[in-house]
């Protein structure tokens, strides 16, 4: 499976860029899919998530306090955007400083740990893997920050069995 990073222009702004992942051959990002999967059942929450992302892009940037950290492995930046106790949805993201966030997928959290839910586990683990791939490429300078840490440039295409060159 091949996929690439894309910048969502209608969420990004001069305070932060909002990225997601486009699987090869598909027309929608994994964030679009999250929206589609949940808009009927959780319309207000999905709208609120979109409004929050727009605010992050245009007004506030990404603050640690706006996300629930440590949703992946230690130090990989995988976090969850939404974690009010009364909210039902969990959206997994990878946070890069205060100016770049990569939004993935997620779903309804009604279990104690994500490992108990196949859907949440799949979405979360995909981001863990992607985070590791991006980190490796940053280390090898195949991906670099540009525009004052607002963007990535470089080799932004990946595949499931991607190894270092």
């Amino acid at each position: 499976m091949k996929y690439r990073l894309v910048k969502i222009s209608n969420l990004s702004g001069n305070k932060a860029s909002v990225y997601s992942v486009l699987l090869n051959g598909e027309q929608e990002t994994i964030f679009d899919k999250f929206v589609k999967e949940n808009i009927m059942t959780f319309e207000e929450e999905v709208k609120n998530i979109i409004a929050r992302l727009k605010t992050i892009g245009k007004s506030t940037g990404i603050r640690d306090s706006f996300v629930k950290p440590n949703e992946g492995t230690l130090g990989d930046g995988v976090c969850a955007l939404y974690d009010n106790p009364d909210k039902k949805l969990r959206l997994y993201c990878i946070k890069y400083g205060t100016q770049l966030i990569l939004v993935g997928g997620g779903g309804q959290k009604n279990v104690r740990t994500l490992q108990e839910d196949d859907k949440l586990k799949k979405e979360n683990y995909f981001l863990r893997k992607l985070s590791a791939q991006i980190t490796e490429r940053i280390k090898d300078k195949e991906i670099e920050y540009i525009n004052n840490y607002l963007d990535f440039e470089g080799d932004l295409e990946f595949q499931d069995d991607d190894e270092n060159d």
């Binding site: 894309v6 969420l11 979109i50 929050r52 306090s65 670099e144 932004l156």
Partner: protein, 119 residues
């Protein structure tokens, strides 16, 4: 490997859903996040940790600070005033002089430009 810029992607789905979010709702979301950001910046400016704020306010449970700073909280006026006092910041502006210019300047999120029909 040649350095490539990230591909720009415009989501039609997000556009569609965004158009169904009222300007007022967007403003509420933005203001809550900006207030949270201001409180957090004030905590840092005082070289405090969250627990210092907790102590200054005489609160018991650290989770309340996490909720306040999440950008999703709907504060009461009482809490905002308490935060203003301990942090030395302004979160509620009552000094704004109200006249017709002020009303016109501030975007009216309830009504259309005719000032009569609701958005």
């Amino acid at each position: 490997m040649e350095k490539k810029q990230v591909e720009i992607y415009r989501s039609e789905l997000i556009d569609e859903i965004s158009s169904s979010i009222s300007p007022l709702e967007e403003k509420k979301v933005e203001k809550k996040m900006l207030i949270a950001a201001k409180i957090e910046d004030a905590i840092k400016a005082k070289n405090w940790k969250n627990r210092d704020l907790l102590e200054a306010l005489g609160k018991k449970y650290p989770s309340i600070i996490t909720i306040w700073l999440s950008g999703t909280h709907n504060f009461t006026i009482d809490t905002l005033i308490e935060l203003e006092e301990v942090l030395g910041i302004e979160l509620i502006n009552t000094k704004e002089i109200i006249n017709t210019k002020t009303i016109q300047k501030n975007k009216n999120l309830f009504f259309n430009s005719d000032n009569k029909t609701k958005v």
